[in-house]
Structures are given as C-alpha cells and as structure tokens.
Amino acid sequence: MVSLDTIVQGVLLGGLFALFALGLAVIYGVMKLINIAHGDFIVLGAYLALGISGATHRSPFVVLPIVVVVFMLFGYVLQRTILNRTLGRDILVPLVVTYGISVVIQNVLLQTTSADSRSLKVGSIETASVALPGGIAIGWLPLLTLATALAATLLLEWIFNRTRLGIAFRAASDDRETANLMGIDDLRLYGYATAIALGVVALASLFMGIKFEFTPDIGPSFLLYAFEAVVIGGLGSFWGTFAGGIVLGVAQAIGFAINPGLGILLGHLVFLAVLVLRPRGLVPRSASA
C-alpha cells in the first residue's frame, strides 16, 4: 500500500509545498509577520505569468524572470507603503491587514479574469517522465519543481548566513531596537525581506499554475499548506521549512495511496501531530533555546 513509489511521489509533491512555504518563512522569520495573503500572492503570480505569457506568446518559463522582478518590486513597495505601518506590539494588525489584502486580490482577480479555472501551459514537459527501476516514474516537471525548491532554499540560506544583508535580517529579527542602534534602517530592511519573499513566491506561482487548475479564490488553501510546512519545519533554518514541505507532501501522498479522500486529511493530521509532539518544529530556532 505504501510503496516506494508513493514516498517518491510524496517527496516530489513536497517540493512544491516547500516552494509555497519559503516565502512565508522569510517574512515571518524577519518580521514576525504572518502574511494571510500569501496564498493569494501565489495565485496572483500565476495570473500574471498567464497574462504576460499570453500577451507575448512565450512560454511561462520564458516570462518567469519578468514575473520574479515585478513581484520583487511589488513586495518592496507593499512593505514600505502598507505592511510597515502594521508592525508593532499588536500582532492582530498585520493579520487583519493581510487578510484584507487577500480579499482585495481575490476580488480584483474575479473582476478582471472571471471565475473560470485556468492553468499555465508549458507543452510536452508537463507529462514527460523518466522511468526508474522498480516501476517508478518520475515526472520531469515535479523533479524540476523539487530542484527549484532546493535551489531556492540554498539561495535563502546563503543570503541569510553569508551576506551582510543576512546578518541585518537576523539581527533585526532578534532585536529590532538594538539593530537600529547599529545603523540598520529596519523599515527599508523589511522592504528587502518582502521583495526576496515575493521573488520566491513568483517561482511557486509558476509551478503551482502548471500543476493545478487555478481560480481567483483558491489562494487560501495554498496558504494553509505553506503555513503547515513552516510550522512542521520550525524557524531554525530554511532547510527546516524545506523538510516541512517534504513531510507534508509525503503525508498527503501516503494518505492518497490509502484512500483518495484521506490525502489532505493525513497532511493535516501530521501537522497537528508535530504541533503536539514537537511544537517548535523539526529545526527549532536556536536563539531562544
């Protein structure tokens, strides 16, 4: 029932969840801001890729760099103009505001693109696969998704651990006031963090849009997966987030293998189990240890 194939397909699915989760982890890690509109950003990115791809008659893969750049700029401006004003002692304010942004994005998309379901078409790679011994077939697209998630995780780890910007991110996350004393302009820094997060979201948008049929109102379910992956992974490193995505993917795949109605549920159950047994996640943040 739970074959090696199931696990492999789960890991591949987990790559997509990891990609969903990384952007959420960046924003939460730096600012303690839970972005309720995260899933809607993923959907918005897919519509943007669809629009640009349609207008230029190029593959979504080709227009991806444009979507990434547009989203990074969007992230910076959004943080500087709106989200920075929500940061403070009260954690409810950013929740309410990003929930509002979520509602706005869904309705703007509904108004401009209708409720019809769409998907991104990338041709024959969508169904191409490589056969492994043991009757396991690995789709090129899921493999590319997983590889992209790995690359994004590596890139984020490098930024946060090996660059001055990363030191500033972690310092501001630890102690905003003392970071200010170091000459760090925290509000601009938060702009950079959201820009990076939305750059990763744009990657998630592409692979989501190829894998799923999407409609304007589907974002919140992606938020849920992303949130679960972040909680399972813990906030110690982006590798934790990556692992959280994989765990969620494998759990769902096993659930689906047992019973098609059980897949999503088993994912949620694993999330709850981690919350109970290891509330700080697989890779806890060491600062408060």
């Binding site: 500033a168 996350s173 970071a179 200010n180 004393l181 170091m182 943040r285 060491s286 600062a287 408060s288």
Partner: protein, 231 residues
C-alpha cells in the same frame, strides 16, 4: 565641542524623567554620568542615541541638531551605544555580532582584526554563538560591536554591571586603550571611584537634574556623595 545637550526633557507618559539637562562633551573627552537608580542616566544616553526622540535642537552633535532623528541615522553620524544588558544578537555568532556593528556603513580604523587584538578571547570564540559567552566576554563583544561602527562618540551604559572585579578592570583597561585613539566617551557607571578614575569629567544626575559637574580629579568624594544622594 562635539556633543551639546541643552535643556533636554524626557517623559515616560506622565512621568518626567529629565528636567532640562545640559551636557557638553568635547572631542576625545571622557565623561562619566553618575547618580542613583532612576536618576535619568540611561534615559539621557538613550535620548542621545536616538532611541528616544527629543526636540531636534535639544541635542546637537558635530554642529547638527539630532534630537529628532531616528536611531539608525544617529548611528550613521557616528554615535554608538553599548546598551545596558549588552543586548547581543542571540542568533548571531560572536563574529557576526561584531560585523553587525558595521551595518551602518561607517568605515575607519576599527576592523575585526583590531577588535580581536583588543579582546583576544573573542577571536578564539569567533564562531561560537554569542549566547555561549560569559558575562565579561559578552560585554567585550558588545563594546567591540560598537567600535566596529567606527564611532566618534561612544556611549557606554553600565558596562561593569554584573561582572567580577577582575573582569571590570580588564574591560576598563581596554576602554583606556580605545580612548587613546581620540574617541569621545560618555559612560554611565554605578561605581563612583571607578567613574572618576577612568574619565576626565564627572556629571552627577539626581531626579532628572544635573546636580554636579566637574573635573574627575578635582571633585571631592564628599561633594559627589552629596550631589549623588541630594543631602
């Protein structure tokens, strides 16, 4: 003069912490702030560093009113604060904490190598989490972090607090070495004798007002005591 505080007032809600405080610091000068708990010493330092906003003209640094500037801008002008309780970044290593001091973008004589020469133990522990350091080592790291910003004015808030006498001696000896380079220092110190010995001037605060100011060498112990306790 390098720093001029004129008629500085500070409030916490309805409570007034500073009542028209004046303070002048010349380039390269070391000034000690003494006074009982709640006298307003830390508030004064935090106002200078910008973590508390003031009237712009109440604090003038190098000819520029800075009372209304955010702390990051004050830091970039060359004022570094070693905060009370050290406030190292717990998720950063020792060396990353030191490098965090450079994020304001000021450059100068202070580099990692020079800080390590001043505090060799920090070089040994460079890759250790800052949380693994002893109290004295943490204080060295906090001072090193402030120096990495290459400030013109260094503010030290109770750097001897909670340290053993031997370590306090070591930290103050290092501070002497630092000041040989012409850096101006304002330090808050509970130990009046230590404050006198390590500065050129002493300023005493009581209930948010300056009650005494003078050359460290010339002030009598009793005079300071009277200003300190207000008797």
């Amino acid at each position: 003069m390098m720093l001029e505080v004129r008629g500085l007032e500070a409030f916490y809600g309805d409570f007034q912490a500073l009542f028209g405080v004046d303070l002048v610091v010349d380039a390269g000068e070391r000034v000690a702030l003494v006074g009982a708990n709640g006298a307003g010493k830390s508030t004064l330092l935090r106002s200078i560093a910008g973590t508390r906003r003031s009237r712009p003209e109440a604090i003038v640094f190098a000819g520029r009113p800075i009372g209304g500037l955010p702390p990051a801008e004050v830091a970039r002008l060359g004022i570094a604060l070693v905060p009370e309780g050290r406030r190292l970044f717990p998720s950063l290593t020792v060396e990353e904490n030191l490098r965090a001091g450079t994020l304001g973008g000021r450059t100068g004589a202070w580099t990692l190598d020079r800080v390590y020469a001043l505090f060799p133990i920090l070089r040994e522990k460079r890759n250790a989490p800052s949380t693994s350091l002893s109290g004295g080592q943490q204080q060295m790291c906090a001072i090193g972090r402030a120096l990495m910003a290459n400030p013109r004015l260094l503010l030290c808030d109770e750097i001897s607090l909670g340290l053993s006498p031997a370590v306090v001696k070591q930290v103050y000896a290092a501070l002497d070495e630092v000041c040989a380079g012409g850096l101006a220092v304002v330090l808050v110190e509970q130990d009046v004798e230590l404050a006198r010995a390590s500065t050129e001037r002493v300023v005493c605060l009581l209930h948010g007002r300056v009650t005494l100011g003078g050359r460290s060498r010339e002030l009598e112990r009793e005079t300071i005591s009277r200003a300190y306790f207000g008797v």
